[in-house]
């Protein structure tokens, strides 16, 4: 059975699981509503307690929205980060923290990392399986946008320009899709990032924006890209080329005149090439070669455990809310005990009375679930926009199968508990109560 399950396409598995999770809710509904019309009475009772019912539904909705949006947001973050890193097959940097190297070079987060020297960069560039080797030089910014020194070849690898022209000298730059600067604008780079940035450190350098990079859905959309030579020259260093080739931009670089870079992004001639280069530059302590996908995978494994615990806590909290709500409904429906006793006195079967109370409870649970779904959707959209604004990583704001499974499971479980509770209510509402 397990083998058959694992051979099924993922979509079929997800759909089957969704149906299986919804099945108890559908079965309970069909069973309780068959042969009579309890919902008319349930609706009248709901109308009579509209304010309280809405309060309970909002309580369920908020709780469900928190649980569902947490799970959706975590997955959205994973997908967004993986998409942002997919153009960065292999990153080579100075030995240190793998995550720091990845966050600096791929996600452009300011981190203290070592530099790769010209000799090593030259070795990487000359590797027989390397197709593109792009330097990444960081350190400056403009109006909060990180300035990244790299090569035109890497800009093309990222997707090329959506408008304007590629730089033709070291005083020209191109902007990411969302960078706060217009084509034709001139600016002096600030030294450093954020509140620590020194706006006047390079005031004698004036860069001109000539083009805009296509959207990459990564933090590079908010960056400003310049020739790597520009970064070095701005800092009064050699520009990577021998004196007789001073005007050259991009590779080859002269190791002797290479001041160092934060990282080298390597695109190999295939998957085996990527692993070959990674292996070749992981053998000694001069360099560190990382696959961003693998580093993210490692982070997700750690986060996966946290996610598992979070999911469990979500279920637990939803269970508690469902119990609390049912306890509340039990108190609320006690107001109807006399009504239920009248129904029994008039000859209504227990199943009808159970269905009437269940219809009341199920409507509250269903309304709460609908509020929860819309609340979760709004929350995911809001959180995605917030995180995208902070990180530059584009996050897909949508529900996945996990959330649908959670909602379906919650609905079925709460419907089942409501059934038991309604049956108990129906049995305790004895006609003798009418004499008291």
């Amino acid at each position: 059975m397990t083998q058959i399950w694992s051979f099924l396409p993922v979509l079929v598995r997800d759909l089957t699981l969704l149906i299986l999770l919804l099945l108890p809710a559908l079965a309970i509904t069909t069973q309780l509503l068959r042969g009579h019309k309890p919902l008319k009475l349930s609706a009248a009772l709901l109308r009579a307690q509209a304010g309280t019912v809405l309060g309970f539904a909002i309580l369920i909705g908020v709780s469900l929205a928190i649980g569902v949006s947490l799970i959706a947001q975590e997955r959205s973050l994973r997908i967004g980060a993986a998409k942002a890193a997919e153009k960065f097959e292999l990153v080579i940097g100075a030995p240190g923290s793998e995550t720091n190297l990845m966050f600096s070079s791929v996600f452009l987060q300011p981190n203290a990392i070592g530099l790769l020297n010209g000799e090593v960069f030259s070795e990487v560039s000359n590797h027989e399986r390397a197709k593109i080797v792009a330097p990444i030089a960081l350190g400056d910014s403009h109006q909060g946008a990180t300035i990244v020194g790299t090569t035109a070849g890497f800009v093309i690898h990222l997707g090329g320009l959506s408008e304007g022209q590629m730089w033709s000298n070291s005083l020209q730059a191109i902007a990411g899709a969302d960078a706060p600067i217009d084509i034709g604008a001139r600016f002096a780079p600030a030294h450093g990032h954020g509140t620590d940035a020194n706006e006047n450190a390079h005031e004698d350098v004036l860069l001109e924006l000539t083009g805009r990079l296509v959207r990459t859905n990564s933090p590079w959309d908010r960056a400003i890209l310049v020739p790597v030579e520009s970064v070095w020259e701005t800092h009064g260093l050699a520009n990577g080329h021998a004196p007789e080739r001073q005007g050259q931009l991009g590779p080859p670089f002269d190791a002797e005149f290479f001041p160092g870079v934060s990282a080298a992004i390597v695109i190999a001639d295939g998957l085996s090439g990527t692993y070959q280069i990674q292996s070749d530059f992981s053998v000694d302590k001069r360099t560190m070669a990382i696959l961003p996908g693998a580093v993210l995978g490692g982070l997700y494994r750690i986060l996966g455990d946290v996610r598992g615990v979070a999911s469990l806590l979500t279920w637990f909290s939803l269970g508690l809310v469902a119990i609390a709500v049912l306890a509340g409904l039990a108190i609320l429906t006690r107001l109807f005990t006399r009504h239920l006793a009248v129904l029994r006195a008039l000859g209504a079967p227990i199943r009808f009375i159970t269905a009437t109370v269940w219809g009341f409870s199920a409507a509250v649970l269903l309304l709460g679930t609908i509020i929860g779904v819309f609340g979760a959707l709004l929350s995911v959209i809001g959180l995605s926009a917030l995180i995208s604004g902070h990180t530059g990583i584009s996050l897909p704001a949508r529900f996945g199968w996990t959330e649908l499974h959670l909602i379906s499971g919650f609905l079925s479980l709460s419907f089942a508990v409501a059934w038991l509770f309604s049956n108990r209510m129906a049995e305790t509402a004895r006609p003798e109560l009418l004499r008291s």
């Binding site: 008039l346 000859g347 209504a348 009418l434 004499r435």
Partner: protein, 214 residues
């Protein structure tokens, strides 16, 4: 529908005896009045006849069906099929309209035998869509009677059915109640203090401290 009560006693849950060793018969189509001072056990007797309160001793049989032999679910089904009940304090669903209240058994009557609409007209009950909580006491009384008659029962048990009615309405409602019960061969048992109602009954049973007065 014929009723046979033999040596019936009914106790409260705390053991007080409310009805003491009562025996009587009611023929099909007969109208019986039960009267007596407050606390004499009239309503308890009516509840027992409807199978709503269990008998402590003795037996209650409707035709050949002994209520004591039925489970609670079977007693409910029996009530639904054969008995119409008018409660002393009406026990309407305030959230529902008068017509919905009168027709309430249709929600669980799978055989769909209810005939509330005709009864509503006969009892001059407002058919507009208002909540029953907005009705006057007399109107509520009439809705409760319409509900008892709606399922085409074979016997009707009514507890003080004229209590909330003024003189004019009392005659009108009682006419309708008799017309739709004894008038068509159904048994009618009424608990009442009202001489005008008791006057119309075929026979009157008087309860004194739970026992039938001689």
């Amino acid at each position: 529908m014929k009723l046979s009560v033999e040596n019936l006693s009914v106790d409260t849950p705390d053991g007080s005896r409310i009805v003491r060793d009562i025996s009587f018969d009611v023929d099909t189509g007969e109208a019986i009045g039960i009267t007596g001072p407050s606390g004499a056990g009239k309503s308890t007797l009516l509840f027992a006849l409807a199978g709503l309160t269990p008998a402590t001793a003795g037996s209650i049989s409707w035709n050949v069906t002994s209520l004591g032999d039925l489970s609670e679910a079977e007693r409910a089904a029996f009530r639904q099929e054969h008995l119409g009940i008018v409660f002393q304090d009406h026990l309407l669903f305030d959230e529902l309209s008068p017509i919905q209240n009168a027709d309430i058994t249709s929600l669980f009557d799978t055989q769909n035998r209810h005939t509330a609409v005709g009864t509503l007209a006969a009892l001059d009950i407002p058919t507009r869509r208002i909540r029953s909580s907005q009705l006057s006491g007399g109107e509520r009384q009439r809705v409760a009677i319409a509900r008892a008659l709606a399922g085409t029962p074979r016997a009707v048990l009514a507890d003080e059915p004229s209590a909330s009615l003024d003189h004019e309405n009392r005659s009108k409602v009682m006419d309708a109640l008799f017309a739709q019960t004894t008038g068509i061969g159904k048994t009618l048992i009424i608990v009442s203090h009202d001489p005008q109602v008791l006057y119309r009954m075929d026979r009157i049973l008087t309860l004194q401290a739970g026992a039938l007065a001689q």
